[in-house]
Symmetry: C2
C-alpha cells in the first residue's frame, strides 16, 4: 500500500511539496515506511509519526479503538479498531482507515461506497488507547445507508416502541431539528383542534419572522438591561428554536450552518469575513 | 451488587413502583438476575433486557465497546468496555457503567469522583458490538479534571505545537465558542493596531446588539424575499456567531442553552411552553 505524506506535510505547514510514497510491510514493525526521498523534513515528520505510534497503548492484538465523529454535528458515525498501519495511513491520507478484525486487513471507510470520512484532526485519550477521528463524511457512513451506525435505541426496544422505527442517536440540537422536521411533514395534513405552536409557525411566515425578530430583541435585552443571567440561555434557546423552524421551511440543516462556520473560521475566520464586509 | 429496575420501569412508562433488587453472579450467564418480586411487568422487562443482552455480539472476552457521549454537546466523554453485567447495570441504574479490563471488575463512572454520567438513552450499532451511552455528566469526565478524556491532538503533536497545550477534541460549534472565549480573555489586555471584529463586539454592547438584531432581520429576509437558499445557512451562521459573542459576555455556554432546550421539550416540549405563554 502506497500512501503519501504530502497532504499531512502541507496541513502541518511544512514546505514540502514532494510526494513520499511509503510501503507498509505485512509484519508490523516500527520502521514500516520506506522513503523514496531523502527530504529531511519528511524524515523528521515520519520520525514524529513513529514516536506517536510508539506512544499508543496497543492491546494484546496490537489494536486500539477508533471512533469516527462528524466534526460539524458531533454525531458518532461509526467505531472500529486500528493497528499501527491503520492509524499511520489515516494520518497521512486524511481518510479514516481501520483494521478489520474479521478480514485481518486495513480498510478505508469509503473505498467501496465512496463515502469517505475526511479527517480534520485525530485525538488520543488520556490512557492513549482510544482515538477519535474528527472528520467530515462524504455521505452516509453506515452500510445500511443510515447517516451513522447507531440507530437502535435500547430504551425504545425495551419499551416495545417498534412504531418509532430506526431512531438515530441524536444530541439535543438534532432531536429538536428532528421534532421540527416531523411537524413540517405533518403540517401538510389537515388537522382538527388547536394546532401546535411549531405548526402555526410553519404555516405562517409573518408570525415566524416576527417571532425571530422578537426573540433576538429579547436576547439583546438580557445584556442591555443586565437581566438575571439565567434569562440569557432561555432567550437564546428561543432564538435557536424559532430560527430552526425557518431553516426547516428552507430545507436547511444545522449541519449546513456549521459547515459555513467551519469554512469561515478555517479561512482565518470570522474576523476576516467581518472585516471584509464592514 | 444490587441494582434496581425501578428507574428503568418508570422511565419506560410502566406502572411498577416496587424496587427489584437483582444479584449478579460472578460467572456470566443468561439468567444473571434473581428477582425479589414476582411482579409480572418487571419479569417481562427483565426478559426483554436478557433478549437484548443476548443480541449483542460480545467479543471473545465477552466485551463490547461503549462510548459515553454528552447528550447536549455531542462531546465524546470517554470510551470503555462493557460486559453483560456492565450494560445491564447501566440500563437499570441509569449511570454509565463499564467493565475494567485491568481490574476485572465492574465500575460506575463517578463512583469515586461523584462525576456520574446520567444515562438518557443507550444506542447499539448496526453490527451490535458497539454501544453509545448518551448522557449528561455531573462534572468533568476525565480523571485529570478535563471535560473529556480526548485532549491530545495528533496534528498539534506532529506540528510540535506544544504552545497550544491541551486542546479538547471540539466540534465546529465549540471550536467557535473557544475562539470567542479566547478573544474575550485577550480583550482585557490593551492592543495595538486594528482590533479584531470579535474584540470590537466584545467591547461595544451597542454594536453587538445592533448586529444581532440586524442578522436576525437578514435571516428573516431570506424567507420573506425568497432569497437563494444558500443565503439562509450563511445568515444563520451570522446570527449564531453574534449571539454567541453575547453569550460569552454573559458567561453562558451553548451547553446551557441546549440544557434549556432539552428540559423544555422533554416536558412535552416547546409547544407546551409556547402555548402557555401566548
Amino acid at each position: 500500500m502506497a500512501v503519501s505524506y504530502n497532504a499531512l506535510a502541507q496541513s502541518l505547514h511544512t514546505r514540502s511539496s514532494c510526494f513520499i510514497p511509503i510501503r507498509y510491510t505485512k509484519q508490523r514493525s516500527r520502521s514500516n515506511v520506506v522513503f523514496a526521498s531523502n527530504d529531511n523534513k519528511n524524515i523528521a515528520l515520519q520520525a514524529k509519526v513513529d514516536n506517536l505510534l510508539d506512544s499508543i497503548k496497543w492491546d494484546d492484538k496490537g489494536l486500539a479503538v477508533a471512533i469516527a465523529q462528524n466534526v460539524d454535528t458531533g454525531a458518532v458515525l461509526m467505531q472500529g479498531f486500528v493497528n499501527r498501519e491503520a492509524l499511520s495511513t489515516t494520518i497521512s491520507s486524511r481518510k479514516a482507515t481501520f483494521f478489520s478484525r474479521s478480514r485481518s486487513t486495513l480498510w478505508t471507510k469509503g473505498e467501496t461506497s465512496n463515502n469517505f470520512i475526511n479527517i480534520r484532526d485525530v485525538y488520543i485519550d488520556c490512557d492513549r488507547d482510544s482515538i477519535i477521528y474528527l472528520g467530515t463524511p462524504d455521505g452516509p457512513t453506515c452500510h445500511t445507508g443510515e447517516e451513522t451506525c447507531y440507530y437502535t435505541s435500547v430504551f425504545d426496544q425495551l419499551n416495545n416502541d417498534e412504531a418509532s422505527g430506526n431512531k438515530l442517536a441524536l444530541t439535543t440540537l438534532y432531536s429538536l431539528e428532528s421534532i421540527i422536521s416531523k411537524r413540517k411533514e405533518e403540517s401538510t395534513v389537515p388537522q382538527e383542534g388547536k394546532p401546535s405552536w411549531t405548526r402555526r409557525l410553519l404555516t405562517d411566515d409573518a408570525l415566524l419572522c416576527s417571532k425571530i425578530r422578537e426573540e433576538a430583541d429579547e436576547l439583546c435585552r438580557t445584556l442591555e438591561d443586565n437581566e438575571e443571567v439565567s434569562r440569557t440561555p432561555s432567550e437564546m434557546a428561543d432564538v435557536l428554536y424559532h430560527a430552526m423552524v425557518l431553516l426547516s421551511k428552507r430545507d436547511v440543516k444545522m449541519e449546513d450552518v456549521f459547515a459555513v462556520l467551519r469554512k469561515r473560521f478555517s479561512q482565518s475566520g470570522i474576523e476576516e469575513k467581518q472585516n471584509r464586509t464592514k
